[in-house]
Amino acid sequence: MGPLLGGTTHSGDLGIDMIVRLAAFTWTLRDNGFAVGLKESEDAARIMASVLGTQAVTFRTALKALFCSRRSDWLKFDDIFDAFWRNRGRRRVPMLSAYVSPAKLAGMRLLAGDDRTADQRTGLGEQCSREGADEDQRDAGGRVRMEGASRAEMLSEMDFRKIAEPLAVAEAHALAERLARRMRTRLSRRERARSKGRRIDLRRTIHRNISHGGVPIELLLRRRKRKPLRLVVMLDASGSMDLYTSVFVRFIHGVLDHFREAEAFLFHTRLVHVSGVMREKDAARALERLSLLAQGVGGGTRIGESLATFNRWHARSIIHSRSCMIVISDGYDTGPPEVIDGEMRRLARRCKRIVWLNPMIGWDGYAPEARGMRAALPYIDLFAPAHNLKSLAALEPYLARL
């Protein structure tokens, strides 16, 4: 590739063609998820007009430093640059995004298929309940509240497996989400009621006591800022969890929506980071996007490997000193149990608490016999049932104590 510019070194000399082309390039970058502002385009023009713009290699390197802002950008920039500047005819690079064609993912029935219709209805019901925040039970039919409340009672004790009629499913979902929201408010109030500080803040004390002639009568204290509790949820979306997944997805959606700090992962044969998708305000849309992301249903669960992926790539940036990990899984793993053992040990070292929710604890006569489950048990701080809404609600006091 020859010089991009005919050796010019003054920005005034940039031809209009080159400016247009540079603008097209910034749009290509934006399409590929780069955060490029006006200031960056302006600086790119300066680079182009400088000596760096006269050689392909230095021009690319310079734009790379300017436009990239994270490692993922850094890794894909060269390809995008080459595709754009070296093939004049092609204006757009194919989008390098995480989305997969919907057809490929018809298998994600458990998340999208059956429940979708129900969820669209819940979306509506939810809007109603947001308008009247305290009105707990009002479904699409506008029933009397009393009846709704008793219905909620009944639903909250019913095993998720046994909730079959679409209306009840929708209600259970809405309940799960509301539960998550309530947990949030209560947890945050507890935070605020904490004690006074321990060290004296001299700067503020002196400022406050100006009116006393600088004699420190009122002491102002500092306390350590407490980090908010961060919830990290890992949900097993494998076939054996089929009947429970959709409710938990709604629960997680609620958690992510209302906790300031929460992250969510889904795993089956591999681990998918789904926080971004789950932050979608509209629950139905979130589910739709989620089903696009989650491939690989069937073919067994690889809990150990998924945990390994988490430990290797996500743990460092996601787990901090006040994190609680919630794994929702039945513990049926197709991989060797030693992997789970090693990875759980690693996780336990980083994490303040590990909660394992197993829907099967709610079944009569269940004992944690699955090999994966037994390997994980020694590292778990709380092993609790999660087969109905009541069991989810029981989690809140535990989390508040962290």
Binding site: A35, G37, E40, D43, R46, I47, S50, V51, L52, T58, T61, A62, K64, A65, L66, C68, S69, R70, R71, D73, W74, L202, R203, I206, G214, R224, K225, R316, S317, H320
Partner: protein, 300 residues
């Protein structure tokens, strides 16, 4: 506002030359990024695994420009009074007490105790008050809180600080700012966009050979390249803590000290000293003599 950008900007070739001269072996892309820092007046954000030499870049940059290096190490709970400035309260109180005895004029007293004499300069203020364009290294910005990041963003765009009692202090020269991050927390998009970005990877065998030769005295080129190849093998072993460049240099120094000329001469010593690259018990127990023999087998 950007002011006083020097008319002459060092070209990337010149920078690369000077980096080599001060003992920093850079990859191909770094000099261009360093040139852009001056050309566009933007800070440089460095990311990369622990131990790839992010902090070294700032030190090298300071010696390239013959400027002072001012370092701010970030940590959780870092606030303005530790990063920017603080009044020396003890001295102020003493001054008030001392002069009360002499019945000093209160106005003059007030002017006096809020003067520069009682101001404690912290790294950020120090950096913008110097005339000689220092290099300001803000190390591990991801450890600081988000509030601090926002404050820093403001400082990096205005390069001025207002101290209520003293007035606004404008930068006498704009420092070259290098930020490093280990990615323990995601930085805000605003900060990322403000900065130039450079990702430092572990050096390849060739570059690491050059680094060893530049940093370890009295080492032969052959041993250097053997060590670099061996370390690359260790890095591919999926350990808990991947050894960084500093560990390589320690190891090379150890081998020179033990008078090893060729790694193949003494596999036993190689294995024993290699353990100084490994920092956790788990990695050590995994790294048996067989593993180091296997890696050594691949080294030319």
């Amino acid at each position: 506002m950007r002011r006083d950008l020097p008319a002459m900007v060092m070209s990337s070739e010149q920078i690369a030359e000077r980096l080599t001269a001060v003992g920093y072996v850079a990859d191909r892309e770094l000099p261009v990024a360093l040139q852009l820092m001056d050309m566009l007046g933007r800070p440089l954000l460095l990311e990369g695994e622990a131990g790839v030499g992010k902090t070294e870049v700032a030190k090298a940059l300071a010696s390239v420009h013959g400027a002072a290096l001012i370092r701010l190490q970030c940590y959780e709970g870092l606030d303005q009074s530790t990063a920017l400035y603080e009044w020396n309260y003890q001295r102020q109180l003493l001054a008030i007490r001392a002069r009360e005895l002499h019945g000093a004029d209160p106005d003059a007293l007030e002017r006096d105790i809020f003067s520069e004499r009682y101001l404690l300069e912290r790294p950020l203020l120090a950096a913008i008050r110097r005339d000689d364009r220092p290099v300001l290294l803000i190390d591990e910005i991801d450890r600081a809180d988000e509030e601090f990041e926002a404050f820093l963003l403001e400082l990096l765009s205005d390069f001025q600080v207002s101290i209520p009692e003293l007035g606004t202090i404008k930068a006498s020269s704009i420092p070259r700012v290098v930020l490093t991050s280990n990615n323990t927390r995601d930085l805000s998009d605003a900060l990322r966009r403000r900065c130039l970005f450079h990702y430092i990877d572990f050096p390849d065998v060739e570059r690491e050979t050059h680094i060893i030769m530049a940093r370890v005295p009295r080492i032969s080129p052959q041993l250097s390249s053997q060590i670099a190849a061996m370390v690359e093998g260790v890095r591919n072993e999926a350990l808990r803590k991947t050894p960084g460049v500093a560990e390589t240099l320690d190891w090379a120094a150890a081998l020179v000290g033990l008078d090893v000329k060729n790694l193949h001469d003494d596999p036993e010593t190689v294995h024993r000293t290699l353990r100084c690259l490994l920092k956790t018990q788990e990695d050590r127990s995994r790294f048996s003599a067989e593993v180091s023999a296997r890696l050594l087998g691949k080294v030319a």
